[in-house]
């Protein structure tokens, strides 16, 4: 350890931001454009979609034909580095807990590959306790966030339609793409049984919005990240423009270890380990902004103990790490015999569904308290690893060109079967709201550190009857839709009470939130309504950590809106010398 020393970067910044995803990227963008000096720390390597994306590669250009690896759990072409496990960076679960933690390590974070589903929270989503008595209300309401939703709709671009739905508010939308064939079939059948199907709301540019970003050319590959920046990724739409101001120093491969504080308990900077040279560094700033992801930000706070903050930074409430929750999820799929032997044409469309179902029922009349929306998939996807895997379960069950065949087989007849069934699949996924609870939490594992010597997280999460009953309802709905459209269920149809109706493990839907929640009472919440720490006024959180609850909406658009709101507040407070 003779050489062991900490290198302190001489430059003092207005803000040190940890994490370059939706929250951190937006903070860097707002602060840099306000003329403030920013140091943006990212735990992974650089990623510029224009250079690094695998968009438009053919399946045979991947030696594994797009199959997943631990480096890319969503497949070889996917635009996200790492996922469910990272070499050298473990985490643990308490017994009976099964949290699944997705971690991106790259500039732009997981926004490089996300589904671009960009849903505003509605007025009720901020006030759930007032409605059903569960969880807590936010200290802010829709009216506080609406101006920021409006601004990011314009700044980043989102398509959709104004439907006048109370809890799925209208926005400033680009035109959506027309539904695909299976989507029209879903629409026709679901509408008949009282389930609405409306144009989806995705942050993909069906029209050009500025000169730095292109217009969608319909390759369906947003998950790979877009080389012409026609979809929203923090890397392309926020971090690169922020760097272009000249006000941002981006430090990559920098794993934050601790938020540094002074004797008054104020944040003075961040210490990090450089993953390349394994040296220890410190970078100093007037404010520290955490956008490392809900769980990583909680971990960082809990690991930042000092005499003034003995329970971890911003944790006098003992609430940091608590109220951890994810979207619920359950899925089902099948085949549509009507679509066998389809005429071929390019139906790639945008990267994701063109229609979806917002929550349409009243929970007061149901046996579970919170709603869900439905996402749809199907059609002619690019053949990738796993293409029509298990044909032996299909080709003996349905007549092929009028002929009953024996299951399995080989040869020219088998080749005919693959052609016959291609494009007839349909799938649907429910994404719902779980009730945020104090006893679902992460904490520091007292006995384990990662390869950098940083104590790791241990999770304690479990679903309640609320979420299980919601999953049961999802499955009943999917089955009803599939039957009404003449589809045959081929997967997800056998789930029951023995496996919580196929309810995915918490964390699996990758909408982690709630660990550093905001609230007016410093005893009940680490942050105030500006996402500013009650215990440390120059410390902020801009990721999913600040969420009190997350509605049945994917959280990214709200992370962006809240990060912009908090960042404008920081600019104002710094100018007034209040922090």
């Amino acid at each position: 350890m003779g050489n062991f020393q900490v290198k302190v970067q001489p430059k003092k910044y207005d803000a040190v931001i940890v994490g370059s995803g939706a929250g951190g990227g937006m903070a860097a963008y707002v602060l840099a454009n306000a003329g403030l000096k920013v140091c943006l720390i990212e735990a992974g390597p650089n990623f510029n979609p224009a250079i690094d994306s695998k968009q438009l590669q053919n399946p045979w250009e991947s030696p594994r034909r797009g199959a997943s690896t631990k480096y890319r759990p969503f497949g070889d072409f996917d635009g996200c580095y790492w996922g469910w496990e990272i070499d050298g960076e473990p985490y643990t679960n308490d017994k009976d807990s099964n949290w699944e933690w997705w971690r991106a390590r790259m500039v732009g974070g997981r926004t490089n590959h996300w589904g671009r589903i960009s849903l505003r929270f509605g007025p009720k989503d901020f006030k759930r306790k007032s409605i059903d008595g569960l969880g807590d209300d936010w200290p802010i309401g829709y009216e506080d966030v609406k101006p920021y939703y409006d601004k990011i709709d314009k700044l980043l671009g989102v398509f959709g339609t104004n439907e006048g739905l109370v809890d799925d508010p209208d926005g400033i939308f680009l035109p959506p793409p027309k539904p695909r064939l299976h989507e029209l079939m879903i629409q026709r059948s679901a509408t008949k049984i009282g389930i609405p199907v409306i144009p989806s709301r995705l942050s993909i540019l069906t029209k050009k919005i500025n000169d730095t970003r292109g217009q969608c050319f319909y390759c369906a590959q947003c998950g790979r990240s877009c080389k012409i920046f026609a979809d929203f990724s923090s890397s392309s739409a926020l971090v690169l423009p922020a760097i272009a101001t000249g006000n941002v120093d981006l430090v990559v491969n920098a794993m934050a270890r601790e938020v540094l504080t002074n004797k008054d308990g104020l944040a003075i900077g961040v210490s990090y380990v450089n993953k390349e040279d394994m040296q220890e560094y410190q970078v100093m700033g007037r404010t520290v902004i955490l956008g490392a992801s809900a769980c990583e930000s909680a971990r960082l706070l809990l690991n930042s103990k000092s005499p003034r903050h003995p329970n971890g930074l911003a944790n006098s409430s003992d609430v940091v790490g608590k109220y951890l929750h994810d979207s619920t999820g359950a899925d089902m799929g099948g085949i549509i015999p009507e679509l066998f032997d389809r005429k071929r044409y390019n139906e790639d469309g945008v990267g994701g569904m063109h229609v979806y179902t917002p929550w349409w029922l009243d929970n007061k009349k149901l046996d579970f308290p919170r709603g869900y929306h439905i996402e749809y998939g199907g059609g002619f996807g690019m053949p990738l690893y796993g293409f029509q895997w298990g044909i032996e379960n299909l080709n003996g069950t349905y007549k092929v060109k009028g002929k009953q065949k024996e299951a399995g087989g080989y040869g020219a007849s088998l080749k005919e079967d693959y052609r016959y069934f291609f494009g007839s699949h349909v799938g649907m996924a429910g994404r719902g709201e779980a009730v945020a609870r104090r006893d679902n939490y992460c904490e520091i594992d007292p006995a384990m550190v990662d390869v950098y010597g940083i104590p790791v997280l241990r999770f304690h999460t479990k679903y309640s009857e609320y979420e299980i009953k919601q999953a049961k309802h999802m499955k009943e709905t999917f089955s009803e839709i599939l039957h009404s459209m003449g589809a045959v269920i081929t997967w997800g149809g056998d789930d029951g009470p023995e496996n919580n109706y196929g309810l995915h493990a918490p964390g699996n839907i990758i909408h982690e939130a709630g660990t550093v929640r905001m609230g007016n009472d410093p005893k009940q919440s680490p942050l105030n309504k500006w996402a500013q720490a009650h215990d440390c006024k120059n410390l902020f959180n801009v990721d999913g950590g600040q969420f009190v609850s997350q509605g049945d909406k994917n959280i990214t658009w709200t992370i962006l809106a809240l990060s912009m709101r908090t960042s404008e507040y920081i600019v104002d407070q710094l100018k007034k010398n209040n922090i």
Binding site: P45, N48, A50, I51, D52, K54, L56, N58, P59, W60, P63, R64, R65, A67, Y71, R72, P175, P176, K178, P179, L181, L184, M185, P199, T206, D211, T212, R213, G214, Q215, F217, Y218, K227, I228, L240, A244, V252, K343, R344, N346, D348, G349, V350, F380, M382, P383, Y385, F387, Q388, W389, E392, A407, G408, G409, Y410, A412, K415, Y418, R419, F422
Partner: protein, 220 residues
């Protein structure tokens, strides 16, 4: 960027995607890209260094013996032979894909090696030869014992399981090759303008876009 011009180029599909993307760049974007960070692994743009290392490790050795590869190739071409539409599995280099994927997903190693040996032992008992050494008639007799899961004899179960794995790996390798993508008729993965389901197809299924959709959705 002259959007209309570049789209015409896209639709004709005569230029590489790289050129098309070049055409979409504006001066402002060029300026941003110039400031863009350096790519991590120059030899493999977009790959993490951990991925490059893994790829090198997988490619550094051969898993299947020449005899095993011979059997795999015969089985691949029985499953996907050349027909009037397209070539065979070996034309599409499916055996090479199987060699790679078994190393990349090592859980397949034992089922594949064990399945191949099981097959050879069956043939040895029946014909006193390994599968690859059997004549085509004998090979097909053997394959027919394991290719039909619902009517196979119970004692053939390990073979059925192995053949199903072979069928799935072969099909996945074939239909993700250039030959196979063309065969199955996937015509996407190219810049275009999505203007909805073609009229004839809408009619075929008794569907139509609503006036609301036609008004609100993007049209080209």
């Amino acid at each position: 960027m002259d959007r209309r011009k570049s789209l015409k180029v896209m639709v004709l599909g005569t230029v590489s995607s790289g050129l098309m993307l070049e055409a979409c760049k504006t001066e402002d974007k060029k300026a941003i890209l110039k400031k863009a960070p350096k790519v991590t692994a120059e030899k493999h743009p977009g790959l993490m260094k951990e991925e490059v290392k893994h790829l090198e490790e997988v490619n550094a050795y051969t898993y299947f013996t020449p005899e095993e590869m011979k059997t795999i190739t015969i089985l691949c071409d029985i499953i996907i032979p050349k027909d009037e539409v397209s070539g065979s599995a070996s034309d599409a280099k499916v055996p090479e894909f199987i060699e790679f994927i078994v190393k990349d997903q090592p859980d397949n190693k034992v089922p594949m090696r064990g399945g191949l040996r099981w097959l050879d032992m069956q043939c040895l008992n029946r014909y006193q030869k390994s599968f690859a050494e059997c004549n085509p008639k004998q090979q097909m007799e053997m394959v027919d014992e394991i290719a039909w899961p619902k009517k196979a004899k119970p004692e053939m179960k390990p073979g059925v399981k192995f053949f199903s794995l072979m069928r799935n790996l072969t099909a996945t390798g074939f239909y993700t090759s250039e030959i196979g993508v063309k065969d199955v008729g996937y015509v996407g993965n190219t810049p275009n303008q999505w203007n909805g389901v073609p009229d004839g197809v809408l009619k075929q299924y008794g569907l139509a876009y609503t006036p609301k959709e036609l008004k609100e959705c993007i049209s080209f």
